[in-house]
């Protein structure tokens, strides 16, 4: 086990999708100047669209296995049917058949089959990449559509990122998290020290903020909140401020409703690159400064 040293791992989360996680992550990566950035939203990765990384290494990820029954060998005893808890085996004219989209790949059917009629085919079309980009190293992945186990893929790329950071002697890992609160989010959080939760001033945003904050509390992360589109609804924004205050979570930025984020995206740039003098860029820079001070981030190059 290598010494992790003073590695700081910042995970950007939101609960609700589309609040601006990736745009904020891109802005932070720009401000950090040199870090290891990980796109943990392996289902719908977007950060590479802004940063056009140069892939240095491509790796295969086996997301799981799918059972297949050889009907020529099967004696139709029905043991597999009785054992499957995923409702993935059905009888078609008396012959057990696997429904691929329901199969969880647990292999129990293959293990209990007395005839050895069931084999497991690896799902190996997902890939993960070690890349470089203009602000350091970039670890990302592409989950093959329909393949499962995105939580485990997140764990794999996270581990790769941690060892990259140690090898390159880079002190900061920046993770763009997936939406939700389930397994890929839990895998993104595990091992991180700092959570930056990006929410938006809407009732849905507030509901999801409460859930994600209760999740990060379980993992005892140092947590900060940025409210995006804060001017969409002043009352909700107020409620978020109050809720965060009661939860002892500092709100370190309030970003206005700003289509400039989309313009920057279309030009494959972060907001800091595209519109460095814009009000939103100003807010993000201040929030970044706050993170740097509060978490004593060792920033080698500050723009």
């Amino acid at each position: 086990m290598k010494d992790r040293g003073p590695l700081k791992e910042i995970v950007v989360l939101s609960g609700k999708g589309g609040t601006g996680k990736t745009s904020i992550t891109a802005a932070l990566a720009t401000l950090l100047g040199n870090s290891v950035v990980v796109d943990c939203d392996v289902d719908a990765a977007n950060l590479h669209l802004l940063f056009s990384p140069e892939v240095q290494e491509t790796n295969v990820f086996v997301s799981g296995h799918k059972a297949v029954i050889d009907s020529a060998v099967c004696n139709q005893c029905g043991r597999c049917l009785a054992h499957c808890r995923f409702d993935a085996i059905h009888l078609v004219d008396g012959q057990p058949v696997i429904k691929e989209t329901s199969c969880d790949g647990c292999q129990l059917c293959a293990r209990v089959c007395p005839e050895g009629a069931i084999s497991l085919i690896p799902a190996d079309k997902s890939r993960w990449y070690k890349s470089t980009f203009r602000y350091g190293h970039f670890i990302h992945a592409r989950l093959q559509p329909g393949e499962e186990n995105s939580g485990r893929l997140v764990r794999v790329i996270r581990e790769a990122a941690t060892s990259s950071a140690i090898d390159q002697q880079i002190g900061i890992l920046l993770l763009d998290g997936p939406p939700g609160t389930g397994c890929p989010v839990i895998s993104s959080i595990t091992g991180a020290n700092i959570a930056l939760v990006v929410t938006e001033a809407s009732k849905s945003g507030l509901h999801d903020l409460k859930r994600i904050l209760s999740l990060v509390a379980i993992y005892k992360l140092r947590t900060f909140v940025v409210i995006n589109k804060f001017d969409l609804n002043q009352a909700v924004c107020q409620e978020m401020d109050t809720f965060c205050e009661h939860s002892n979570v500092p709100v370190i930025g309030r970003i206005p409703f700003d289509p400039t984020f989309v313009t920057a995206m279309i030009h494959c740039q972060s907001l800091i690159e595209w519109a460095p003098a814009s009000p939103s860029a100003h807010v993000i820079r201040e929030a970044f400064q706050e993170l740097v001070e509060q978490c004593q981030l060792n920033v080698t190059q500050y723009r």
Binding site: G15, R85, I186, S202, F257, I266
Partner: protein, 289 residues
Amino acid sequence: MIIAIASGKGGTGKTLVSTNLFQVSLDDRVDVVLVDCDAEEPNDAVFLPGEPKGMQTVTQQMPVIDKAVCTYCGRCHDWCSYNAIFFLREPRRIDVLEDLCHDCGACLAACKVGAITEKTVPIGTLSMRYINKRPALIEGRTLVGTASPVKIIKQAISEAGKHDLVILDAPPGISCPFIATVEPADYVVLVTEPTPFGLNDLALSIETLEQMGKPHGVVVNRAGLGDEALYRWLVDKGVLQLADIPFDRAIASVYAEGKLVVKVLPAYKPVFQTLLDRIRAQAHPSTIA
């Protein structure tokens, strides 16, 4: 007829489309039920208030190892495909890593000495809301900390039963929770936005649906924002564009307040009505007059 409202990217407007489609269907006296399948972050109830009546707990089975009976043979560990059993032969140690357990029952079947039993643990809830005494919204919700919402999603959909129209508000992404939601659907409506992120994630969703052989169409939300690349892509791919919802701060603002656009901004009602008609025509092509 079951339709799923989905998108690869989060925050494109799935909930906006689901709840407003539900409302126009209700206004049209359609026998309709909305199922919130985004069990990690369910938001439909924000727009359809009222206290839930009837709450069910969704559970899973979790193995319990009796260490006094266990012979430390390691067979359960070998049979577990999810690394959910931590096992050391020397010094003897065996533990269930509950976060990783998929409730498949392999360890139970593997154990030859009967050292493994199962306990029932809660993983989430289903709640029902009614409008005029008729079921209106079924919400699946994971307990915070639950890894997989799939079982909750499946139960929520089966709880809905048969209706003229069942609308499933899907979770984002293209992995297991998304698959579990679109699997039972007759038709899938993908909501996207005309931005590079929106297009990238739409392409992934469509690739997944094509593999599954699911008929689908696209709603472009925030039309007018971003660029033309999405529209060109839709034409190139021959993907049906069902509706455009314009980029209008007023819509964002009504949504932020937790209100329905078709109620507060009636000018947009025809957009959702037309969308409903087009979805019905797509899902039941034979019924077009």
